[in-house]
Amino acid sequence: MVNRYLPGEEILSKIQIIALVVAGLMAAVIFQLIRKKKLKEQYSLLWFLTVAVILLLAVWEPLLGRVSSALGIAVPSNALFLLALLFLFGMALHFSLLVSRLTDQTKMLAQKLALLDRDLRKEREARGRGESGGSSDGAG
């Protein structure tokens, strides 16, 4: 158990294998979502970055220990939790911003549509009256 950090040691620990598998699955799911055009590439980049970080932490085990001691955190896993939480917080905020922008755009579209719909009805009414005085049934 002492030689865990020795270079040339190629046997991966159980948790490393699990992390690699999870990262691989995440990458596959994201890629598949892009292929099916359900996820826009611009939003996938952040998730691929997440996968990359997980991969890096899994493969290069001392990294997490170094990061946590640099942050002054005694237990490396706590550093991981902290960073993961901060990252997820950032993502959630990012999506809140996106939703706010979309809400605004949707509102403006709906208002514009209401105005244009009114204009179109007026136009049709005027034309109907001008041509034959026929019925002016708008689309319900």
Partner: protein, 244 residues
């Protein structure tokens, strides 16, 4: 204003089929003004009834909430070049006979925004207790901020001039807009005034403010007020108005 001012009455309506016809008739009987009903995604034929009554109808494709519905009316007023916009309720709470009193200070050029207050009028329906308490609180806060006495900051019975039509067409609060809109006008250095009006108990429909939402309402409005205050007030411009 040299000639007769062009006046538009904006009626936001969400499922007000039961009362909208009467509201329109009421307004027509009391003044000569154009009327636009902004239908906020109603499912009960509100828009059809309004169209049959021969008024302008702007039909939103889905429910946007009262603020964005009002703003649609202001956008229409701006585009069509109206001088004054009056906002009233679709459920018959506001008495159209009072619209003239809302208009008078604006036509005289004494005020940019006139709010109909039910608390300046002795015989008016004042609403349920919770609503009254909330209104009193917001009115007090706004009175302090605007350094003038306000009694009915949540009243949605208002008239505004061209300048505020332009402002609100560009920027109007989303939900529970009344309090925030008053402060927006103040921050733009526009003059606000209240006149007494009587109001009726609600006809059809429900208030947009239910008990469940009142806490959210309070928090949202106070947050909105802080945001508006944190922005800088428009520069004092004396008489001249900056061209847009």
């Amino acid at each position: 204003m040299d000639s007769e001012p062009r006046i538009l009455v904006i009626i936001p309506a969400h499922n007000e089929a039961a009362s909208i016809g009467e509201v329109i008739a009421d307004i027509r009987a009391s003044l000569a003004a154009d009327i636009v009903v902004v239908d906020d995604g109603s499912s009960d034929g509100t828009a059809r009834i309004a169209r049959d009554a021969g008024v302008e109808v702007l039909q939103l494709p889905f429910n946007l909430g009262i603020g964005s519905t009002m703003q649609t009316g202001y956008k229409f007023a701006r585009r069509e070049g109206y001088d004054i916009a009056v906002q009233t309720d679709g459920d018959g709470q506001h008495k159209a006979a009072h619209i003239k009193e809302l208009l008078a200070p604006i036509i005289a050029g004494e005020s940019d925004m006139v709010v109909g207050s039910r608390y300046l009028s002795p015989e008016s329906y004042k609403g349920p207790f919770g609503r009254r308490a909330g209104t009193a609180l917001f009115s007090w806060v706004l009175s302090v901020l605007l350094r003038q006495r306000l009694t009915d900051a949540t009243s949605g019975f208002r008239a505004v001039n061209r300048e505020l039509i332009e402002l609100f067409a560009r920027d109007y609060p989303g939900d529970y807009p009344e309090v925030e809109a008053l402060l927006t006008a103040h921050m733009a250095r526009l003059r606000v005034r209240e006149v007494p009006v009587a109001m009726r108990p609600r006809g059809g429909g429900r208030s947009s403010i239910t008990n469940f939402h009142s806490v959210y309402y309070m928090v949202k409005v106070f947050l909105a007020l802080m945001v508006v205050i944190s922005r800088r007030r428009a520069p004092r411009s004396g008489q001249e108005v900056t061209p847009r």
